[in-house]
């Protein structure tokens, strides 16, 4: 009975819990934490159930309120979406476990309860964007995600975070504005907002009104790449991800940027058939932008002295990888992109969380002052190192697997140039990650006036993510086996 409503529940559970927290007000911090945690546990279970269900039945369709499409709003969970829902809910749970005991030191006490509510609202919007099959519904969730993400950046209360928040909000509104105009154009020529129906009506509409379709493709491309921070449009990202509280940075870099790529995939595969995309210069554009993104993101990261800013620039490069796979557009490359969404979510979360721990424990933000920190605080530094090695793409770790598939995909498409780009970028990654690792473990041991202890939740999360890095590296057949049919499904339309 209840399993039938799982797709709706996965959106409603975090939303309702967020409002319960808000209703009680800022004084019930413990209650807020427990509610958020309970909601996330439930969410993760639901997402995993959905994941299992998609492996058996393929696509799950859910009609909100029983209204049939094209009139009602439809939730559409195919394998790709199920995959993303599982990533979002489990990373979300791990970050919330981490937050207990750490969050209170980073933001004012008055806003801690509200922070949990905002966090759940952000999760709601991510899940909603991924699951929805209705363009306008996707737009509304997009706006919810930009507002709540900007709020999660600015919640710090310091002026850098405020400034980054304003910048982020304005640019992401620009992005969603473009997407809305594209949606208007699509609705205008097809008369539908449901993706499945649009896909059916599109070829006829294209014969009659080609300009609207071309305009909407361009607007989607601009809008979503601004929001996903593909290279020349990434300017908001380093400030926003660098100055946000630790837990916000982890989620923003690990999950929020990716959800716009999922929307992009939906537009590319679900609405516009693959042979259709080849008429327009979307692929060449994506390839150029992502190549520059991969190289420039890494080069800019090398120049950073602040550890969180460095990680933020590294995200710009990694977003480039994911778009590279979509630009190459062979099955293996798309598998690589999807895998990188998973692997980068794990790697960037562990990197941001452990960097946050190190900043909290030592008070050092500068990269070159981290000498010997690993000897005093082995756990966060070991977690950081593992994440860094995975990011470079050392073989048994998960970062290697997604780069491998991206490389395979590029070779399938007869474009070995991009394999070279991936290799060069791995080298550049090594150039800024390895010195930190080496210096922190082999440098002189620093003297701290007091040795602080990490809360148990933080230790648990770092260990779990580290295990995930190794597991998804060694047993990469697991996600790949799930994704192969998912990508087949996408290419079949």
């Amino acid at each position: 009975m209840i399993t039938q409503h799982l797709p709706a529940l996965i959106i409603l559970v975090p939303l309702v819990s967020a409002f319960i927290i808000l209703l009680l007000g800022p004084n019930y911090v413990r209650f807020a934490r427990h509610t958020a945690m309970a909601a996330s546990v439930v969410l993760t279970v639901f997402a995993l159930l959905l994941l299992l269900e998609t492996t058996q039945d393929g696509t799950i369709r859910y009609y909100f309120g029983g209204w049939q499409p094209p009139w009602g709003i439809e939730l559409y969970i195919d394998r790709m979406t199920g995959f993303f829902l599982a990533i979002v809910s489990s990373i979300n749970l791990l970050v919330l476990v981490f937050a207990a005991g750490v969050l209170e030191q980073e933001i004012r006490e008055r806003v801690v309860a509200h922070y949990y509510a905002l966090f759940l609202i952000l999760t709601t919007s991510l899940l909603g964007i991924a699951a929805s099959n209705d363009l306008f519904n996707i737009f509304v969730f997009l706006e919810i995600s930009s507002v709540s993400a900007a709020a999660l950046v600015a919640v710090n209360g310091n002026r850098y975070a405020m400034e980054a928040g304003v910048k982020y909000l304005i640019l992401s509104t620009l992005g969603s504005g473009s997407v809305l105009l594209a949606i208007a154009n699509i609705y205008m020529v097809t008369g539908y907002l449901n993706l499945t129906y649009i896909a059916e009506a599109l070829p006829a509409a294209f014969a009659q009104y080609p300009l609207n379709i071309v305009a909407s493709l361009g607007l989607i491309m601009v809008g979503l790449t601004v929001k996903a921070a593909l290279y020349p449009l990434h300017i908001w990202l380093p400030d926003a991800h660098g100055s946000a509280p630790t837990t916000s940075s982890a989620v923003l870099s690990g999950l929020v940027v990716k959800v716009y790529i999922i929307v992009f995939i939906k537009f590319l595969f679900r609405i516009f058939p693959v042979d259709f995309i080849e008429i327009f210069p979307i692929q060449p554009n994506l390839l150029v932008m992502s190549t520059f993104g991969i190289l420039m993101g890494s080069i800019l990261a090398i120049r950073q002295t602040d550890i969180k800013k460095m990680l933020a620039y590294s995200t710009v490069a990694q977003v480039g990888y994911i778009f590279l796979g979509l630009g190459v557009l062979t099955p293996n490359a798309v598998i690589g992109s999807m895998l990188h969404i998973l692997n980068h979510a794990i790697m960037k979360t562990i990197l941001f969380l452990s960097a946050g721990c190190i900043i909290k424990l030592t008070g050092i933000r500068e990269v070159n002052r981290l000498e010997g920190v690993g000897r005093v605080y082995p756990l966060p530094m070991a977690a950081f190192s593992l994440g860094a090695l995975a990011m470079i793409g050392i073989p048994p770790l998960n970062g290697f697997v997604s780069k491998w598939y991206l490389g395979l995909g590029a070779l399938d498409a007869d474009q070995p140039f991009f394999v070279l780009i991936i290799l060069v970028s791995s080298f550049l990654n090594g150039l800024y990650y390895l010195p930190i690792v080496i210096r922190s473990f082999f440098g002189r041991e620093p003297r701290f006036s007091e040795i602080k202890v990490l809360p148990i939740g933080a230790r648990f999360t770092l260990t779990a993510l580290a295990v995930a890095i190794v597991v998804f590296g060694l047993f990469s057949a697991l996600p790949v086996g799930y994704l192969e049919p998912a990508v087949e499904q996408l290419f079949a339309g």
Binding site: A150, R159, M162, V166, L169, L174, L181, L211
Partner: protein, 124 residues
């Protein structure tokens, strides 16, 4: 090539105007350094999209979509209903952006992005 058909252009003047207003808003957002003006530009841009959306549903001489008489053409109600949601979203984004700008003004004493950047550079 697209041949310019003035009658067709006039019939679609709604859309043309909406695009012009959209570009005005876009321009303001990108070129002005005053944050309040940026937010105003954001609103102009969104208003243009709303106009565009509502114009899609408009039928020349159409009645309000109340289904009690036969054989009358109706204005499509869906875009208007959607844009109602869009306006709510836009208002909340504006409110939030303005509140952040107020905070920034308290910190820096200015709402100009260039001046804020200048102050920050001098601090470092």
């Amino acid at each position: 090539m697209i041949d310019l058909d003035l009658v067709k252009l006039w019939d679609n003047a709604f859309y043309g105007m909406a695009i012009i207003i959209f570009l005005v808003g876009f321009w303001i957002m990108l070129t002005h350094s005053n944050l309040i003006k940026k937010i105003i530009g954001m609103n102009i841009m969104e208003t243009a999209i709303f106009l565009f959306f509502v114009a899609i549903g408009y039928v020349q001489g159409g009645a309000a979509p109340i289904l009690d008489q036969q054989g009358v053409s109706y204005v499509n109600p869906l875009p208007s209903a959607l844009i109602l949601t869009g306006i709510v979203v836009s208002v909340s984004v504006t409110a939030f952006a303005l509140s952040l700008v107020v905070k920034l003004y308290q910190y820096y004493g200015t709402v100009d992005a260039n001046e804020i950047a200048y102050i920050r550079r001098n601090e470092e």
